[in-house]
Symmetry: C2
Subunit: 362 residues, 2 copies
């Protein structure tokens, strides 16, 4: 994550992982989730915070979820329906449950199918926010599998290259593979220039947006550094930005995500599905279908070590690969606590009072 997204040190309050989990879980249970589901949803959020992916942790998301439950726009006790199933696949209707509640169960099923057949894939329609996508491939690589996840997040944020109207959401993609001694490769990106949650983070933190991250409401790219407008005041460009710089590649991957999660799940294209009806696609591929996992992981070590030990180009300290910083941050935060913004801690404690919950952070 770019430095602009980090909580300034003066505003940080360190909270232990255990305290953050316990508070979060009690809020989900108060919203009506079963204990089992609350544990699952909490794990997605706290894993994000541990990895330093604060944009998708409790800070931005939990109060949104609470507001949605209080407005009756999300179902805390979804009855997930299986619409179609084969030994390698399933299509689910999530019954307006949160994605972070239903998605991990879908990846669990994909992994079980892959244990038997070698490949498992689940497409989910009609779910809420799916959280940090890296979570799903992280589940797969514990089983010596490659994990993939894509999410169609509505259709009101991202404009196609040369376009003037929105068709996609941030439409993220994640992909992960295990290594032996090196931290695993875990890639997780929005197909927009930046995740929408991160724009909102800059509003709290007071940093600005880069040229070419967003457009005005006629699709014209904003090429000066600006404060982030609120939702409704901007559209987003696909990653790459201009055609010459590869914007058609971001646009193409966004289309793939719309197809693989939106259309394939039966949720429909994002622009028709509506903002509150997300869809998700997860896939697990067992490595030993193709070669022994021990050989795969040894080759992964060679690749990842080559990347992370390379001499950096002038002006840079170090070469990273996807998942490396997040792995290091997790070790640090499990030891020292999660550095939340003091505003977030205040929100937790106010919520505890309002919801009559028995915790106080930090």
């Amino acid at each position: 994550m770019l430095k602009r997204f980090l909580v300034p040190e003066k505003d940080q309050v360190l909270v232990t992982e255990a305290a953050a989990r316990s508070a979060t879980q009690s809020i989900f249970e108060k919203m009506g989730m079963s204990e089992e589901d609350a544990v699952i949803a909490t794990d997605v959020l706290i894993t994000s915070d541990l990895r330093g992916c604060e944009s998708h942790g409790v800070s931005n998301m939990l109060r949104n979820y609470v507001a949605m439950y209080q407005a009756d726009r999300m179902n805390p006790r979804p009855e997930v329906k299986t619409l179609r199933e084969t030994p390698v696949s399933a299509t689910w209707d999530a019954d307006t449950g949160l994605g972070i509640q239903v998605g991990p169960k879908a990846m669990k099923l994909a992994i079980e199918k892959a244990e038997t057949t070698g490949i498992g894939a689940v497409a989910i329609q009609n779910c809420g926010h799916v959280g940090m996508l890296a979570y799903y491939p992280l589940m797969a690589l514990q089983h010596d599998m490659i994990g993939i996840c894509m999410v169609s997040a509505g259709g009101r944020l991202q404009v196609p290259v040369f376009g003037s109207e929105t068709v996609f959401g941030t439409h993220p993609i994640a992909w992960g593979a295990p290594a032996d001694k090196q931290p695993p490769f875990v890639f997780d990106v929005a197909t927009t220039q930046v995740a929408a949650n991160k724009l909102m983070l800059t509003r709290r933190i007071g940093s600005q947006l880069e040229p070419g991250w967003i457009t005005d409401l006629e699709g014209n790219p904003i090429m000066d550094p600006v404060d982030s407008p609120n939702y409704g005041g901007f559209y987003m460009l696909p990653f790459g930005g201009t055609r010459e710089n590869g914007g058609h590649k971001g646009y193409g991957f966004a289309t793939i995500v719309d197809i693989m999660s939106g259309i394939l799940s039966g949720n429909g294209p994002g622009f028709l599905a509506g903002d509150n009806k997300h869809s998700q696609f997860v896939m697990a591929i067992k490595i030993d279908l193709f070669l022994d996992a021990v050989d795969f992981k040894s080759d992964m070590d060679k690749l990842l070590e080559r990347l992370s030990t390379m001499k950096p180009a002038a002006g840079h300290e170090r070469v990273y690969y996807a998942g490396l910083i997040e792995h290091e941050e997790t070790i640090k935060r499990k030891r020292d606590g999660i550095p939340y913004h003091r505003e977030v801690v205040e929100w937790f404690n106010t919520a505890a009072g309002e919801l009559e919950l028995n915790f106080s952070l930090p």
Copy 2:
């Protein structure tokens, strides 16, 4: 394709599809390929030319292939070995055959497996040039399947973000899905800013490179428009370019390709496999695993029509989606002929003389 890559009108010679196929096939057969394989390899090249993807058609590639056969660096009669096989997968050793000769057979097998199990994937090690990647998903979508292809093309071209040394080739990805009335979505991109073949095309055509497409040999981005250096005189940046502009996304997808084709096939990471030892991954996913193909294709029409009929942003004529121009170009070129550079036609006719073949273009 950007206009800079097109053959200038004054240098164009129109050749019919049939004449181009026949000349190409006879050259492959002269190089020692079986008739069956020559038909397959020819179809990959001519399909590229018909789609307007000249960088991967006969112009750039055929003389390279001939040179490799004459230097005994490619095996025209490979004995492809199956290293591992399951109902959903296979791992192949291509025995130094051309990718355009072996790859279509691998996708055919993936499609056959997907007809039975729902998903089929083949990983190929030890092959030569794989050609235009769009070819492979195009095969799958004829069967109401989604098709995916990735290729690890060595390790001596692409530097990681912040890096100073090459680790990847251009490492392309293709993804395709069928529609009903609309031309299909067929996405095919290098994970570098531009395909290496296209840099070479600019040399013949006399156009320049954009800022941020390549780096010097220490990994420093070249930010002025320049004539393309020849192979060995530059490194390439991942798509996106700088970190702020999303270069880490191109870098991440390049890593995925190295893993899915290089490591998963047993070919090893591209930087260890060597430049002449490519690897390929193909996958076919049967749509009716998840929903009826007719519903999927109807939703595809809605999405693709929304994209292609949208009001363009100021300064643009039209909004495209991946595969749309190529579809229109194919119709045109099948009718009018393929506009080859006169130099290419001269090469064909010279080759006919040298190889004692009985054709003369156009």
